[in-house]
């Protein structure tokens, strides 16, 4: 293959010839990041809320089945987060993909396996983020909710979680950006995301630099756009900064 082409010409060539492969890889990367972050967020939310369940109902003390069950559950959740946060996702991918096929005799395809890995991984990080988000809400508001008769679940649902979720939105967005990039490690189990696709494209001309330059540009565009969108979402959720006085509310006006 003659290589009198300039780098720019190579880039144009790769784009012209392989734009569909790049697009498919990009699509898979975005899909992995969206599913991993969304499902991981749900896992994190559930774990975060389970951790807040009072050990004892109604201030009673001493041994109870409920306290024991919650203790065991919390330990299991702690093990989950420690293990998933303490090992590389690439290793987790190998263990889950090949482990499932070899020991559980489950024939799982690479893409669903990759989704499971990125979800479990994100869930472990989100659990910590959600925990912090819940703790950041002033306990006075929970007490006020209890004082008008809300139970633990209603207090969580209507008062604590809406604020906690708002507060952890930036951290969640950050997880999404990390997932856009780190989904690339799933190439080790042959998930056809952007890195995998780029490597395959490289193989056809024995040129590495230009395809990966294109990949880098795509990754950068993805992360840039998503952080901008997130900023807009935050602004929208915060609502207007000012309020206006209501006119003619009710019947009488004071003074």
């Amino acid at each position: 293959m003659p290589s009198e082409r300039s780098a720019l010409q190579w880039i144009v060539l790769f784009i012209e010839k392989y734009w569909l492969q790049f697009l498919k890889g990009t699509g898979m990367t975005v899909l992995l990041a969206v599913i991993g972050t969304a499902a991981g967020f749900v896992i994190g939310l559930i774990i975060g809320v389970v951790r807040t369940i009072p050990k004892q109902a109604g201030g009673k003390t001493g041994f109870s089945l409920r306290a024991l069950a919650l203790g065991v559950l919390n330990s299991l959740l702690a093990i989950y987060t420690e293990v998933l946060r303490g090992t590389p996702m690439m290793v987790q991918a190998m263990l889950i993909y090949y482990g499932l096929t070899e020991f559980a005799k489950v024939n799982i395809a690479a893409i669903p396996a990759g989704m499971i890995v990125i979800t479990l991984n994100t869930g472990a990080y989100m659990a910590e983020i959600v925990r912090g988000g819940i703790q950041s809400i002033d306990p006075g508001q929970s007490e006020a909710a209890k004082a008008i008769g809300m139970n633990h679940w209603k207090t969580m649902l209507y008062v604590v979680l809406p604020q906690a979720v708002r507060n952890i939105l930036p951290a969640t967005g950050n997880e999404f950006v990390v997932n856009l990039k780190d989904s690339s490690v799933l190439n080790v189990i042959t998930v056809t995301e952007l890195f995998y696709a780029t490597r395959a494209i490289r193989g056809s001309y024995y040129r590495t630099y230009e395809p990966f330059l294109i990949a880098a540009a795509i990754y950068l565009a993805l992360t840039f756009i998503s952080s901008r969108l997130l900023r807009l979402l935050e602004k929208y959720l915060d609502g207007p900064r000012d309020f206006s006085l209501a006119q003619n509310v009710g019947r009488t006006r004071r003074k």
Binding site: G58, Q141, E143, A144, A147, I148, K154, L245, V249
Partner: protein
């Protein structure tokens, strides 16, 4: 006279530290009770035990003759009927003024949106905050927030309200407005227990003043008894500190 809240030999310890050392108090319908006492005497702990934000170590609380600590007692229902107003207001920051007043009515009392809204506006009128229904708590002054917190409690149509130093976190110029609102409630037949450092309020508005000292009720009586003829030496000392 019907007894609304009856506290029997209430004790509360945090670890080995006993804060409440046997409190007996019986409050009748429509009565306004002020609780005074120096810092650390257990006033807040007492109030928090009454609506079970803290669980008593021993003793009991009866609401209209029914033990609130027994198994199977409907705690949310009790809290609906015995509201609480906090020193730090504790408004729900994710909701505007109207939503703060509506959420409990809908999610706890089970009222529909229209009814809840109507009652909320009525209660906000009582505290002079009806124009602010669209404001978020952080957009309001402390005094305004406290008045909304009072309206939020009123919306549950309680039998009794507990106030824990409702004006202590306010700038001096805000105190009067909030006290006026509470005084107005005192004349509506609502049962009130008010922990306060505002001696003028205790003297002028309450039917009974309770002086707490070291986790017990050291003296109680009419405002006249307490302020013009105090017996307990610690109460005398406390009053000279406050009234001079």
């Amino acid at each position: 006279m019907e007894t609304v809240i009856e506290v029997n030999s209430l004790r509360k310890s945090f670890g080995s530290n006993e804060i409440l050392k046997g409190i007996d108090l019986s409050v009748t319908k429509g009565e306004v009770v002020s609780v005074i006492g120096s810092s650390g005497s257990g006033k807040s702990t007492f109030l928090r035990c009454v609506n079970l934000l803290e669980w008593p170590t021993s003793g009991d609380i009866l609401f209209k003759g029914e033990s609130v600590t027994r198994r199977g007692f409907k705690l949310p229902l009790y809290r609906e009927k015995v509201g609480m107003v906090f020193q730090q207001f504790n408004l729900f920051q994710n909701m505007n003024v109207l939503q703060n007043c509506v959420i409990g009515q809908m999610k706890v009392a089970g009222r529909d949106r229209e009814t809840a809204r109507k009652i909320a506006v009525e209660c906000l009128e009582k505290v002079g905050m009806q124009e602010y229904i669209h404001a978020k708590p952080r957009q309001l002054s402390g005094g305004q927030q406290q008045r909304v917190a009072i309206a939020r409690a009123l919306c549950m149509e309680p039998d009794a309200l507990l106030f824990d130093e409702p004006t202590s976190a306010l700038d001096p110029e805000m105190v009067g407005g909030v006290l006026r609102v509470i005084s107005a409630l005192a004349h509506t037949g609502l049962t009130l227990i008010v922990v306060t450092h505002e001696m003028a309020f205790a003297r002028d508005v309450s039917d009974r003043v309770v002086f707490m000292d070291g986790g017990v009720i050291a003296e109680q009586g009419t405002p006249d008894d307490i302020f013009t003829n105090p017996h307990n030496p610690r109460l005398r000392e406390f009053l000279t500190r406050f009234l001079t």
